[in-house]
């Protein structure tokens, strides 16, 4: 496995990790993540079930 040349990062979750990355001059984008299906477990199960199709 070859180590990554220049990290290009997708940050999913806490924005402050993204801010830290930008402060270091890193190439990064931020995902303003929210729980899937608003946290609705039934919906999450259904979505995951459909993945297998």
């Amino acid at each position: 496995m070859r180590l990554l040349r220049k990290p290009k990062i997708i940050n999913v979750g806490a924005k402050f990790f993204y801010d830290n990355l930008k402060a270091q001059g890193a190439d990064a984008v931020h995902v303003d993540w929210k729980p899937p299906a608003g946290g609705d477990r039934e919906m999450m199960k259904l979505l995951d079930k459909l993945k297998g199709f």
């Binding site: 496995m1 070859r2 180590l3 990554l4 040349r5 220049k6 990290p7 290009k8 990062i9 997708i10 940050n11 999913v12 979750g13 806490a14 402050f16 990790f17 830290n20 990355l21 402060a23 270091q24 890193a26 190439d27 984008v29 931020h30 995902v31 303003d32 993540w33 929210k34 729980p35 899937p36 995951d48």
Partner: protein, 530 residues
């Protein structure tokens, strides 16, 4: 003139673009000649004529991108090459939209940034595995900062990653530094030839900052706290090891973790001995014999690991580090503190934000003062009944779930209220002989931990004073002068509150022990191997 080159296998840029880059590089100070080209035969001929065909480029093939510079000094050449890489990245970056856009899903972010290569995940634990799986399906390496991910999910993810040749750093991985970029909680380190793979965030931070003050760090790969458990089998540590073995920038390697089970240890040590680069293995608190038998070099503490790696790299004989300051001065400092203790003050109270620091300190201290109770004890019978109440010598890891998850507060490296409360509680206890702390700097940590703790420490000392006691406080600051919080100023803030600031957690633990036993452990410290 010094000629340096860099070859990027399989990278492509069109020739007009590369010509513009070459032109810009040529205009920089200290540059005699510079060229960015695809390594076609024709281009190689041109480079040869110009006296810039390095062996590396000669070996490259037409699908590889090569940068070669002819500069006044070696350092300048390195700098210019870095600049070339930045120029290429900048030009490729989309303007307006991507720069400001925020994405709602990993999928849409990946679509907008197709050349992304790492996904850093810090969502609540129960959703982390799902995001990680998606990231792996998208062909990206993953770092999972989140904890609270089920073990089965960790196993599935790491197996999937292994199948795809992708690293899964975590879950519960607080730190990685990939090609100079700190992910999660990370210090600003100097780049250099020593690589670290660690199953502990603060462990890797401690080791990397010490190495940063020396030859420098190539990569820090975090594996997550459970990587070496039997069920996981060290998948990420093995892959990380392989990555460092393959990385031309890494010349010496350090592995850090708690001692794994014999099965996993065997697998790790076997792989380690095949690497062919000098290696130091720190199984914190483990038996060094196992490591020696594998023909590798063991380290008892984090500080020891760093020192030995640096020595190895320099071709020197690794020595054990006890105290970095003048020994007489250390003795005097301890004496100044313990002579003011009352007879009833007997115990060390460690109030930690980093679990690995807490463990390291317990390992060192138990040899010198006896058993230490904890919420993360070295032996199950030493587990504190109530983590909020110390018993005899007690070291508490306040980063543990019971303190963070329950109350829903952020980690103590960011948020100090719980630690402050505990410090005051221990100060009120007449049996407390010394308080031991870790203070962690770097990206992701509190912006001024020293400033947050100093007033509390002053108050703690006052509480003791009012009751007719003296309260010593010993601490170490894990950070570098380049960290946003600035190591020097943090140490100053603590010192002005009367804290004994030691250069490392290991040394702070020794100092605390020395104070608690009124200096009687000196020989043991000097002659021991912890």
């Amino acid at each position: 003139m010094v000629t340096k080159s860099r070859v990027y296998k399989g990278e492509y840029r069109d020739s007009i673009f590369l010509m513009r880059i070459s032109q810009q590089l040529g205009g920089l100070a200290g540059v005699h000649q510079a060229s960015a080209i695809m390594a076609t035969d024709a281009n190689k001929e041109l480079l040869k004529d110009a006296g810039m065909l390095t062996d590396e480029i000669a070996r490259a093939d037409p699908n590889d991108l090569a940068i070669v510079v002819d500069c006044v000094t070696s350092e300048r050449a390195e700098e210019v090459i870095s600049k070339a890489i930045d120029m290429m990245a900048e030009a490729v970056r989309e303007r307006a939209e991507k720069a400001e856009a925020v994405y709602k899903t990993l999928t849409s972010a990946a679509k907008a940034m197709p050349d992304s290569n790492i996904v850093l995940i810090s969502v609540p634990g129960k959703f982390a595995a799902r995001e990680a799986e998606r990231a792996l399906e998208l062909g990206k390496h993953v770092m999972i900062f989140s904890d609270g991910v089920p073990l089965e999910d960790e196993v599935l993810l790491k197996r999937l990653g292994r199948e795809k040749g992708l690293l899964v750093m975590g879950p519960d991985c607080g730190t990685s530094i990939i090609n100079g970029i700190g992910l999660g909680f990370a210090n600003v380190v100097k780049r250099g030839p020593i690589g670290v793979v660690a199953a502990s965030g603060t462990g890797s931070q401690a080791v990397s900052l010490l190495i940063s003050a020396g030859p420098g760090i190539s990569q820090v790969i975090g594996t997550g706290g459970r990587d070496l458990h039997d069920e996981v089998g060290g998948i990420t540590m093995l892959m990380g090891l392989q990555a460092l073995a393959d990385d031309p920038e890494t010349k010496t390697i350090v592995l850090v973790s708690k001692p794994p089970s014999p099965t996993v240890a065997k697998r790790i040590l076997e792989a380690a001995s095949q690497v062919g680069k000098p290696m130091v293995i720190c199984f914190l608190g483990g038996d060094p014999k196992v490591i020696e038998e594998a023909g590798l070099i063991p380290a008892a503490t984090l500080e020891d690991a760093a020192a030995k790696a640096i020595a190895l790299h320099r071709g020197e004989k690794p020595k054990r580090m006890v105290f970095s300051n003048d020994l007489d001065e250390v003795k005097r400092t301890a004496e100044k503190e313990y002579t003011k203790l009352t007879a009833g003050q007997r115990y060390i109270r460690g109030i930690y934000s980093g679990g690995t620091f807490c463990s390291e300190a317990m390992i060192i201290v138990r040899d010198l003062v006896g058993d230490v109770h904890s919420n993360i004890p070295l032996k199950p019978e030493l587990k504190l009944e109530d983590s909020n109440k110390s018993k005899a010598h007690s070291f508490v890891d306040m980063g543990e779930d019971e303190f963070t998850a329950e109350i829903g507060k952020p980690h103590p490296m960011i948020y100090h209220e719980l630690r402050q409360k505990r410090i005051l509680a221990e100060a009120s206890d007449p049996e407390t002989a010394v308080i031991l702390l870790d203070v962690v700097l770097g990206y992701g940590a509190h912006e001024d931990p020293g400033g947050a703790l100093a007033p509390t420490i002053l108050e703690a000392k006052k509480i003791a004073e009012r009751d007719g006691r003296y309260l010593p406080v010993v601490a170490s600051v894990c950070g570098t002068p380049e960290d946003p919080q600035n190591l020097i100023s943090q140490e100053e803030k603590l010192k002005s509150a009367g804290v004994i600031v030691m250069p490392s957690n290991a040394q702070a633990a020794r100092m605390a022990a020395l104070i608690a036993v009124r200096g009687k452990a000196w020989e043991k410290i000097m002659e021991g191997n912890l």
